[in-house]
């Protein structure tokens, strides 16, 4: 990995990557393996956003406790995304509402803004369904899981 990182850190190609998450955690592995791509991808100095819509919003729910199903609880990793300079997490408002959820049901995910004296800011941005088409159209690469 470090070789690749070096190879690209000097490159002036910077693309807009969107990771689009539409599936719940644990029932399938897609949420976890998507997150693993995001963490590796963070080494490549690209412009990264994550989107959570449909059942993808369930990935961010507070209070996940996987002990009794014998699987690893990977939800704390989302809160570490700020350390990887992944700071744009778009969550669809309508997807939350259909599921009886509000932003208060989601984990608090923040980052320190280096352009603003390292002030702590929320990473999650609520986005209306109608705005998502524009977000997608602004990307160079969409990885959907």
């Amino acid at each position: 990995m470090s070789e690749q990182e070096q190879e690209f850190s000097g490159s002036d190609v910077q693309k807009k990557f969107l990771y689009l998450n539409r599936r719940a955690p644990y029932g399938t592995i897609y949420a976890l393996e998507s997150l693993e791509v995001v963490l590796i991808g963070a080494a490549f100095d690209q412009d990264v956003s994550l989107a959570f819509l449909d059942d993808g919003v369930y990935q961010l729910l507070k209070g996940q406790d996987t002990k009794a199903i014998g699987m690893k609880n990977f939800s704390p990793t989302y809160r570490a995304l700020g350390d990887y300079e992944v700071t744009k997490l778009y969550v669809e408002k309508e997807s939350l509402e259909e599921r009886g959820l509000s932003i208060d049901d989601l984990m608090e995910i923040t980052y320190e803004d280096e352009d603003d004296d390292w002030a702590e800011k929320p990473s999650i941005q609520l986005v209306n369904r109608s705005e998502f088409a524009a977000i997608m159209a602004a990307q160079d690469v969409i990885l959907s899981f």
Partner: protein
Amino acid sequence: MSVLHTVNKSPFEKAAFESCLKHTGPGDAVLLIEDGVYAAVKGTAVADRIAGGNGAVSLYALGPDLAARGITESAVIETVKVVDYGGFVDLITEYDVSQAWL
């Protein structure tokens, strides 16, 4: 003869939950497991499918799958009983046959 129906899919992602509800008979039960447990939550767009549903059918949800997904028992619709894996086993033995809505 009575049937235990299991649903392991989110009601928002797949038609399995809806199809299951349309195919239950009196005396049957529905057990929500894995991503199926999201159907047991109060206040969602599909909650009335359970809350206002067929009273002749008993409803269960698997506690370990609720907890994994951050759903507290207080968020579960009152008519849904929460069971653990042992309760899942008991349901399988209590009902004559099981049908998995994959």
